[in-house]
């Protein structure tokens, strides 16, 4: 293929003069160091390339080599537990080659080439197979079985199947003869372009929740498996902390964590914490079900733009095997800023706040890659997307937050004033919403408690009543309120401190199963109902406060271990006893 020459260099954008045979979105190698780049603009007299590595030192006239294929990722065993940069280069390999600082122009296999896997070949000669069918399996980590599938567009007949045994990712384990008569070697690895969604058979309704163990999410603003959620919040409101909590405890089978333009130390923390922490369901390190993609804020900006797509492609690949995957992207604003930066270098006409006009369409393309689906091979799987948004100046009216809101159905708004008061997770219950409540009501009814949704509703009503009462309190103080309204304020305080607030560093409180969430809600509401009887009899509310029940309920999240839910019955009995005492 023809080699081209660099004509112009402007930051990460490189141009070639004259007509070329390069294709749009084709991967190219730029310069003598063979930096990785991608074609992002074609004109009759000029080809524009974004380079995924630092361009300092690149000289006019250096060669540009075509590859003939779009930006793609390698899919096969060896992804889990690994940490990649934005274009799927394994960071440990980069460290071994360059030392602590990242060098340039290195090409590495994304998947370990020498490592052998214990492969079970599941097809036989003569089998007819088509895209998505599993032809081999291997234990990728002790908790995840990796299913190696026929690439989506391919179909034909198996003409050779090797015996079970130890194979590397590049070894052929079977051969397939396509309908056109071509024989294809099937290895453990396949490639897929990152900007193209992997095909599925059909989309299914999202009616099962992703259980996260976080009360404010599971009970108040739940998210469905296959759903999409946005976590917007200014700096210091705990976006990253919330993402980490979800990545640690949510009941997805596979977690893809994309650190997109964020801090290096945070990725180090994820890496060390996830190797040390145990998955409560499998008793194995969380890292064994996690893929990390780290393109920190000081790594090249074009690779940051790609990192989101790399992440979602990996998530879709595991979904195709029939797993429930969750992708945490922290933060999508940095990705949008990378778009803006590149758009600026291309001298495109800017829209809102300098962002390119195609920002909304890129966001919608990304969030629509989530979903609960039936795969080509008949299994069911899902990709849940949870994107953090870092609004400029904590202003939710900026373009990235506004457009993200349009394409996600869950909005967990983080609030600075809650964070200042160290109320974590700082999800503001007045600004947040979840559109999945209706879809998930049946699941909660059948799997947790028949009256779960009624309780939730009552809880939310109390919170919103408190919100309007607080407006009065802020003007004239709480003393003038009648007792029934004071009761609402007191109970709402228990809900806020005892229920919504959750301590990520407490052994029991960090993950709370839905049953306990329901019981806690039930006990709080029981106290409310019984206290209303007291207030209705004109007995002063101070008598209820004097029982110390409110303080006890506030701390029940710590006092009742997750595996002793029967202790809630004593709380119910104690409430009855105390209130009966007052009424007598």
């Amino acid at each position: 293929m023809a080699v081209h020459q660099i004509y112009g260099i402007n930051g990460p954008v490189v141009t070639i003069k004259g007509e070329t045979s390069l294709g749009m979105m084709e991967t190219v190698f730029v310069g003598n160091e063979r930096l990785i780049g991608e074609v992002i603009g074609l004109k009759k007299d000029m080809t524009t390339i974004q380079v995924y590595e630092e361009t300092a030192g690149l000289t006019v006239g250096e060669p540009v080599y075509p590859t003939g294929s779009p930006m793609r990722v390698a899919l096969g065993p060896g992804l889990l537990g690994n940490i990649f940069d934005g274009i799927q280069r394994p960071l440990p390999a980069i460290r071994d080659a360059f030392g602590a600082f990242i060098g340039r122009g290195a090409q590495f296999d994304a998947l370990h080439a020498q490592k052998k896997y214990k492969v079970t070949v599941t097809v036989h000669v003569g089998d007819r197979v088509s895209g998505g069918d599993v032809y081999a399996t291997c234990p990728e980590t002790p908790v995840v079985v990796h299913k190696i599938m026929i690439p989506p567009q391919m179909s034909g007949e198996i003409v050779e199947a090797l015996p079970d045994g130890e194979y590397t990712v590049k070894d052929t384990v079977a051969k397939l003869k396509t309908d056109a008569g071509e024989v294809i070697d099937l290895t453990l690895v396949q490639y897929w372009p990152i900007r193209v969604p992997r095909p599925t058979a059909e989309r299914l309704p999202s009616d099962k929740p992703l259980i996260t163990g976080q009360r404010v999410i599971d009970t108040v603003f739940p998210i469905a498996k296959g759903g999409a959620a946005a976590i917007p919040g200014g700096f210091g409101t705990g976006k990253t902390m919330t993402q980490h909590q979800l990545a640690k405890w949510c009941d997805a089978d596979i977690i893809i964590y994309v650190g997109c333009g964020e801090r290096g130390n945070e990725m180090t923390q994820v890496l060390s914490e996830f190797s040390a922490l145990q998955d409560p369901r499998t008793q194995r390190p969380l890292l064994e079900r996690t893929v990390l993609i780290a393109n920190t804020s000081n790594m090249p900006v074009a690779a940051r733009e790609a990192s989101i797509y790399t992440g979602i492609t990996l998530a879709e690949y595991y979904r195709d095997m029939g797993y429930h995957t969750a992708l945490m992207a922290d933060s999508t604003s940095r990705w949008a800023e990378a778009l803006r930066e590149i758009s600026g270098r291309l001298e495109e006409m800017p829209a809102d706040e300098g962002f390119p006009a195609y920002l909304p369409s890129r966001l919608s393309e990304f969030y629509e890659r989530s979903g609960y689906v039936r795969n080509l091979n008949g299994t069911e799987g899902s990709v849940t997307l949870i994107g953090a948004v870092s609004p400029q100046g904590s202003d939710f009216s900026e373009p990235v937050t506004q457009n993200t809101k349009r394409f996600t159905r869950c909005f967990w708004a983080l609030d600075k004033s809650l964070a200042y008061a160290r109320h974590y997770p700082a999800i503001n219950w007045n600004q947040s919403y979840s559109e999945y409540i209706g879809d998930l009501a049946n699941w909660y009814r059948d799997h947790v408690a028949p009256d779960f949704m009624q309780c939730r509703e009552e809880l939310c009503t109390l919170l919103s009543e408190e919100n309007s009462l607080m407006e009065i309190v802020r003007l004239i103080g709480a003393d003038v309120l009648p007792d029934d309204q004071k009761l609402i304020i007191e109970i709402a305080r228990v809900i806020r401190v005892g229920f919504l607030q959750q301590n990520a560093f407490h052994a029991d409180d960090t993950f709370v199963p839905p049953e306990k969430q329901y019981k806690m809600m039930q006990v709080i509401l029981h106290l409310y109902h019984r206290s209303k009887e007291v207030v209705a009899r004109q007995i002063p509310i101070s008598k209820i406060l004097a029982t110390g029940l409110l303080d006890r309920l506030t701390k029940m999240k710590y006092d009742i271990p997750n595996n002793h839910l029967e202790l809630f019955d004593t709380y119910l009995r104690d409430i009855d006893a105390a209130i009966d005492g007052i009424l007598r």
Partner: protein, 457 residues
């Protein structure tokens, strides 16, 4: 063979353009010889075929199109490094200005720096005792952290930075050094830092880079890069613990804006370039520690928030990159509280893993949580008191007001020379919390309260 390019094609702001250049390299350094025999330094910022745009660090004033000859060095910007740089004073481009002669280099290093591989980082955990209660207890500084001070013009951020340097280094017996980079600060401020370092007897462990308010603005863009390259050299090659003070980041960002607009780039918010985040990150992310290598780079950037506005792009983007922030408050400053740290918006993200048993004390985390929760309630009480008057407040709110006043007077307010140990700070915190009834302390579990609560119940 050295090729001299005679003539310029155009001059605009700090940018000069040349045509007919063959094989220019991105970001290489050029030397521009003026008609009067002086020399200026520039950097290639854009190449279009044979047309090259050069950013002139010293500014383009007095340059003529006809009489300038330009030499392309083919090298990126490099600075000389050697162990002898400790105690030296440089200009914004790391050229000595203390009259002690050139640095005899043991090594030349590219100032651009390469990103630290996240896999090779060591997660910072070592608590640095600054001796300042509000920081130690509530926004703990950790070795290898980047913790900026968000201040405003006229507030005491310089004093605070000096106090941190003095108290945290002297308490620590390890091999430490300070790299101080001034960007667009006043002569007096630079002088203040210099005399303070001398008084604290640390000057032989300090490297100063000074780009003062009257120095060339474009040079300012390189100053923090030079400073951080020196810091990385001292930390990871000579294995020292380095504290980098960058002041004032606002001037730096404004220089970047000036450069960007003269380049004709599409502006983002408030005229700052769209890549301000990436650019600031390329500086701040150079803090940290590396696994298996002794030495660390801790950064304390100082920035003055324009109009005390924390949502201004400079503090806003900084807060998204750094691991927390220390915010100074104008009202506290008026009241004469020093250091005027506003505790609610101040935060240290690395604190959670660097405090507690084995680092500070087991009650540190619950105490910090409870103090901050109480301060948040004090704010509500204050807001209510300003409407209905303090006399009308409930008893609980009155107690909170009293607590708030004591907190400001005893906990926040501490002298410029007062150095409190972490034990003193934590005990003081419990003493203040004991002013409140025990039932109001809902962030702490009973075992901790039993051990530390001294109030009446």
């Amino acid at each position: 063979m050295i090729i001299k390019h005679l003539k310029l094609d155009g001059v605009n702001g700090s940018l000069a353009t040349l045509t007919g250049v063959k094989n220019a390299a991105a970001e290489e350094i050029v030397e521009m010889h003026m008609a009067d025999g002086t020399k200026r330094t520039g950097r290639v910022v854009r190449i279009d075929g044979d047309r090259v745009t050069v950013q002139v660090f010293e500014g383009t004033r007095g340059m003529s199109m006809a009489n300038t000859s330009t030499v392309f060095t083919g090298e990126p910007m490099q600075i000389p490094l050697s162990p002898e740089i400790l105690g030296r004073v440089f200009d914004g481009l790391a050229r000595p200005i203390d009259g002690l002669g050139e640095v005899y280099p043991t090594e030349l290093r590219d100032v651009g720096g390469a990103p630290i591989n996240p896999v090779a980082r060591e997660y910072p955990r070592n608590f640095i005792q600054t001796g300042i209660s509000s920081i130690d207890a509530l926004a703990t500084l950790i070795r290898g952290q980047k913790l900026p001070i968000f201040s405003g013009s006229g507030m005491k951020h310089n004093e605070l930075a000096v106090q941190i340097v003095r108290q945290s280094t002297i308490a620590d017996g390890d091999d430490f050094a300070v790299v101080f980079a001034a960007m667009g600060v006043k002569n007096d401020v630079a002088h203040y830092f210099r005399t303070s370092f001398e008084e604290a007897n640390v000057m032989d462990h300090v490297v100063m880079l000074l780009n003062l308010a009257n120095d060339p603005i474009i040079e300012r863009i390189m100053t923090p890069r030079c400073a951080l390259t020196i810091a990385e050299y001292l930390a990871f090659t000579l294995h020292k613990h380095i504290l980098v003070i960058l002041t004032d980041m606002t001037s730096y960002a404004e220089a970047l804006r000036e450069f960007s607009s003269s380049k004709g780039e599409i502006p983002g918010r408030k005229g700052f370039p769209g890549y301000l985040y990436s650019d600031l990150a390329s500086l701040y992310e150079r803090a940290g520690m590396i696994e298996g290598v002794e030495g660390s780079v801790t950064q304390i950037p100082i920035l003055t928030m324009p109009n005390d506005d924390i949502t201004h792009p400079i503090p806003d983007l900084t807060g998204y990159i750094t691991e927390g922030q220390i915010v100074l408050d104008r009202d506290l400053d008026y009241k004469g509280v020093y250091p005027p740290v506003s505790v609610l918006p101040s935060l240290s993200r690395l604190m959670k893993d660097g405090i507690g048993e084995g680092f500070t004390r087991d009650d540190h985390s619950p105490l910090a949580n409870q103090l901050l929760a109480a301060c948040a309630k004090v704010q509500d009480a204050k807001a209510l008191a300003s409407v209905i008057g303090e006399d009308e407040l409930s008893d609980e709110d009155k107690l909170l007001m009293e607590f708030g006043r004591a907190f400001e007077a005893k906990f926040l307010n501490q002298g410029f020379t007062e150095n409190r140990s972490i034990e003193e700070t934590l005990d003081l915190g419990w003493e203040l919390l004991s002013m409140l009834p025990r039932r109001m302390l809902d962030r702490v579990d009973d075992a901790v309260l039993d051990a530390h609560y001294k109030g009446k119940g």
